[in-house]
């Protein structure tokens, strides 16, 4: 899932301080799972903001809502009737949700309420880690199901580098060396052949920097 973390409240206060009516809009998708932007977090943020502005004797009305998914127009439309009651929206969805809302409600400032971080997993409650950088051309079949692009700090395709030590990354002793993990797993699977052959330069066309990426599938289009 997409993992995010709450933005510092000072930052949000600074964005909305000059408005009169602000809607805090959560998303019941990924950001709910990582406890950064679901309805619970909306309540907490809204309450804290009300406390702050009340204390400062500023009259700002802060309302709360949460949508099933902000990356989906059908759900974003639920705000059609009420959006005009507000001067601005703080969206606690991931960066995609914030943008999609901004696209739909062009005359409203939409502010992000979370920092969107990565595609990852819940290791345990309160601990989330990255697994995928969405390069658009999955190579996991050849790397023992462990992605060197997401897991190696130099995204090497022929690792490990000379800096790994005792299975840890040179950048931080708290980070596992992705290539060490790959090697161990390939060994377990009897697939060390994959390790011994140099991987050719990767075609990054499907990855970052080509403008927004797009998938069109005629088989599922209406």
């Amino acid at each position: 899932m997409i993992m995010a973390k709450p933005k510092p409240i000072e930052e949000i206060i600074n964005e909305i301080k000059d408005f009169n009516k602000v809607l805090i809009a959560g998303c019941d998708g990924c950001v709910t799972v990582c406890e950064a932007g679901g309805s619970k977090e909306v309540q907490v943020l809204a309450s804290a903001l009300r406390l702050f502005f009340t204390k400062e004797s500023k009259r700002i009305e802060i309302d709360e809502t949460s949508l099933t998914r902000q990356c989906d127009k059908d759900y974003l439309r639920e705000l059609l009737d009420k959006i005009d009651n507000y001067d601005a929206v703080v969206s606690l969805a991931c960066g995609a949700g914030v943008q999609f809302m901004a696209e739909m409600y062009r005359n409203k400032p939409i502010f992000p309420g979370v920092d969107t971080c990565f595609i990852g997993v819940t290791e345990e409650r309160g601990v989330w880690t990255e697994r995928c950088q969405a390069c658009g051309q999955c190579i996991l079949a050849r790397t023992g199901g462990i992605c060197p692009i997401a897991r190696c700090s130099k995204r090497m395709l022929n690792g490990p580098c000379g800096g790994s030590e005792k299975g840890k990354c040179e950048v931080s002793p708290e980070t596992d060396c992705g290539w060490h993990l790959i090697y161990e797993r390939l060994k377990e699977l009897g697939q060390l052949d994959y390790f011994s052959k140099p991987a050719d330069p990767k075609d990054w066309v499907s990855s970052r920097d080509g403008g927004p990426r797009k998938i069109v599938r005629e088989d599922v289009r209406l």
Partner: protein
Amino acid sequence: MRLRYPSNLKIIRVPCSGRVAIIHLLKALEEGADGVMVAGCLEGDCHYQAGNLRARKRVNYVREILEKIGMEVDRVAMYNVSAGDGPKFADIAREMTEKVKELGPSPIKDAKKLASKKSKVEVAA
């Protein structure tokens, strides 16, 4: 035992301090409470294993929020007290009340221009 504790407390019973969520603490402040204390069982004595430890984390989180929005963090506090220890409960209730009195009325209440001047402390126990 007929123990005296400050009469300005409003006690809210919960089955376990682990039931207290962040939003409950914030709401109490929003409603004008001058302070909120969570009285959980002694650490290690939670019937549900870690309810009181979670409560402490949430209290700490709320204190962080208060600091960031410029409110006195001591308006929210966590205490651990055994369910059978009435005198200790009375002690911490007095201690919390004193602490909050020193801080003065909540700026929220001031701002809301609430008529009542009486200090009110809500307790979740």
